[in-house]
Each structure stands twice: as structure tokens, then as C-alpha cells.
């Protein structure tokens, strides 16, 4: 493992998911009490249109406030952020979000790998990466980057996932700190708010 470097002192939980992950998200967010000591960033594969349906749904279901990501929006503790459709989501060293329209990665934009790798560079050991249900390989490289940067790797138990391929692939190729069901992921996130 590389020596962990922390550039920002913000704490970030980043969740990535593809097919079937919205269900898991909806099992976690409604029961997650308002948190203060970290930022929650959600990166889901979604249709490539410019609508805000996912943001609106999460705003409706979550107790914590959802802040829309736009160019030069700064990440702050105590908010949920959702990666916008048709952009890659990256992180600058001064906690600003950066958006990028470059080629799809793993057939996806946003790509989970791109966001996880970028977050790992800035947040290092202050980062927790959670990978949910899905049916492609996106997220595995990103989790490796999080692990190498000293962050914590959580993968949804494939048995609890609607589409087990993505978490299974990640389990095979990383050494996760935790393999959890959505209910356990909820408890885990609650436990880290201090």
C-alpha cells in the first residue's frame, strides 16, 4: 500500500452504482439521519439526458439536504451531492467539483472509476468508497485507487444485489474492508458520523 497522503481535510463517503443500485440507495437514504461530519457523493449510471429526475428523487427520499452539482460548486460537510448526467465528476484539491465531458469510460459518463480515482487523490484516507449493484466492471479500478490511497473500501454483498456482477467483480479484484447488505451499509454510514 502506498503511503497515504491527504490533500483535503474533508471527509467524504462516495457511493457508486449501476443497474439495480437505485433500489439499494432507496433502502439506505430514507433511514439515514441528517449527518454533519462528512459529505456524501452519489455516482450512478443514468440515462444521458439533461434531466434532474435522479436529483429530485433523492431530494425527496433523503433527510439530509441535496445540493446540485454545477461548475465551481464546493464540496461541504453535511450535504448529499449527485453526479450530473452526461458528465464525468472529478474533485479539485481545493474541494471544488470539476465536470468533464470527455469520452465515456466503461461505456459510462459519469464513470464510477473516474470519480473514485479522482476522489482518492484528494481525500486519501479520509475517503470511504462504497460500490453497489451493477452489471458491468465500472468501479473496480476506482476502489483499488481508494484502497491504495489509504481509504476504506465497502462493497455491497452480491447476494443482496439485484445485479451481482459489479460487486462480485470488485470483490475478486480488491481486498474490501467490508462486504455489506444495504441495511448494514446504512448502519455503517450512521456509525461514522461523529
Amino acid at each position: 500500500m502506498e503511503e497515504s497522503k491527504i490533500i483535503s481535510n474533508k471527509r467524504v463517503v462516495i457511493i457508486g452504482g449501476s443497474a439495480g443500485s437505485l433500489n439499494a440507495i432507496l433502502q439506505i437514504l430514507p433511514d439515514l439521519p441528517v449527518f454533519k461530519s462528512f459529505a456524501l457523493v452519489i455516482v450512478l449510471h443514468r440515462r444521458g439526458t439533461d434531466d434532474l429526475t435522479l436529483e429530485e428523487l433523492i431530494t425527496l427520499k433523503a433527510q439530509t439536504e441535496v445540493k446540485l452539482i454545477e461548475d465551481k460548486v464546493q464540496l461541504m460537510h453535511g450535504f448529499i451531492y449527485v453526479a450530473p448526467s452526461n458528465y464525468h465528476l472529478l474533485f479539485e484539491k481545493d474541494d471544488f467539483f470539476a465536470l468533464d465531458t470527455s469520452e465515456k469510460v466503461n461505456y459510462s459518463r459519469p464513470s464510477i472509476d473516474v470519480s473514485f480515482e479522482s476522489a482518492a487523490e484528494v481525500y486519501g484516507s479520509n475517503l470511504i468508497g462504497i460500490l453497489l449493484s451493477g452489471s458491468n466492471t465500472d468501479g473496480t479500478e476506482g476502489l483499488k485507487a481508494i484502497q491504495n490511497a489509504g481509504g476504506i473500501v465497502v462493497i455491497q454483498d452480491p447476494k443482496s444485489a439485484e445485479m451481482p456482477y459489479m460487486p462480485s467483480n470488485a470483490i475478486l479484484n480488491t481486498t474490501p474492508d467490508y462486504i455489506l447488505s444495504p441495511e448494514e451499509i446504512l448502519k455503517f454510514i450512521i456509525s461514522i458520523d461523529k
Binding site: T49, I69, E70, D71, K72, Y87, L90, E92, A98, D100
Partner: protein
Amino acid sequence: MIEDIELETLINDIYEYYGFDFGSYSRASLKRRVNRLYHLDGFRNFYEFLSKVRNDSDYYKRLIDEITVNVTEMFRDPTFYRIVRTEILPLLATKPFIRLWHAGCSTGEEVYSMAIMLKEAGLLHKSLIYATDINSKVLETAKKGIFPLRMMKEYSENYRDSGGQEDFSSYYIANYGIAKFNDELAQKMVFSQHNLVSDNSFNEFDFILCRNVLIYFDNDLQKRVINLFDASLAVLGFLALGTKETIKYSISTTKYKQLEKEKIWRKVK
């Protein structure tokens, strides 16, 4: 993964050797692009890469092609185009002559989209679209109006979602995997190289589009570019940015009125 200090060295060297200034580009995206190229081209260490960039101007061109983002699509964000079609073109229609500037046009997909809408509104004959980019290679593609045929299904859906009612395939000729757009559309386009980092205003326009370019720039450069647009925009003209971009950090918004939730502003004074 290249180190931050290495990226800064590269930025300095590019400026010193070629005069192009990436200093105000957003680092997260730039670093990812440089890193991708470094691995793609199989360099063993950073100094090998740096020396290639310094000493081989053809490789420098490749570097510019690869690290500037040139991904675009026709009718990207159909809702945006629908608003342009229904709210903006009717207002521009009253003018005897319409000048548009598409800044950072890349390979031109959005320029052809605009030309199609102008044609459908009966305005193409009195319009002129200036389309600019820093990258001369993408402009060559744009001039030809040739795009991959495999993209046409998606573009035709975007076109329809933007309110288009014609047969989209009537705008191009399909052949050997490519779609060549009708020359009639390109007749009203002028392509030229323009660098938003260092070049100045070159005309006055009624409609300026610069979509998903500012996201790669830091605040200072964004301010420069928005002020350049302001200096190039006629009163009552429109400025359109990407769906996640804004002018609010760059210029007094009393000069501009935003169209509801859209990333379109009208210069009111």
C-alpha cells in the same frame, strides 16, 4: 500516475516552447487527460515524455489533440435546443442579419445542429455562424461536416426531442459508415482558429454559444472569457453556456437576464 509537480513542469514547458498557456485550466481534468496520454503512448518515465513534447512539434500537436476535450454531439441536451427553437430564434428572426459565434465548437456537431434549426426557422439564408476552436485539427473535421453514421440514431432522437419534425436523415447522405451533412448547411459557417485564453473579440454577435468549455477553466480565466463574450455581444443578444455552467461568478448579472432555468442569458444593457 504523474505527480502534481510533473504536471506543473509540463504546463510551464508547453508555455515556454510553444506559447500555449494551460496555467488556468482546471487541474483535475487536465491531470487525468495527461495521465491517460502518458500511459497510452507507453512512456517509461516522465522526463522521456517531457523531452518528447519539447523536441517534437508533431508530438506536441498530438498532445493538444488528446488533452483538450473534443467530445461533442448533435443536439446535446435536447431541452436546450427546444428553448432555442421556441424562445430565441423567433426573437432573432426580426433582425435583417443574424451573426452567431460558436466558441469551442470542436468537431462541429453543435454547429450543424444550429444550422439545421436556422434552416427550419427560415433564417439560415440571413445568418452567419462563426465557429472557432483552439484546435485546428477538429476544425478540419467540422468543415467537412462528416460524422460517424453509427451516431445518427442517437442524434435523430435528440433532434426529435428538441422539437424537430423533419426527417432527420434528409440532412445527410449516408455512405460507408459516414454521414455527410448537406453543403447547404455549411455554406453559412465560417471556421477559424481562436484561443479563448489569449485572443480578443473579433466581431459583434447576436447569439454566442460556448457550451462545456468553461468547465475546464479556473475562475480567473472564466472571468476573462465571459468578459470577452460580453464585449462581443450586441445589446439584446443571447449568451448560451453548458447546462452546468454559469456567468454569475464572472460578471455583474444586472447586465444580463437569465431565461428561467436555462443556461441562456440575454444582454439587457
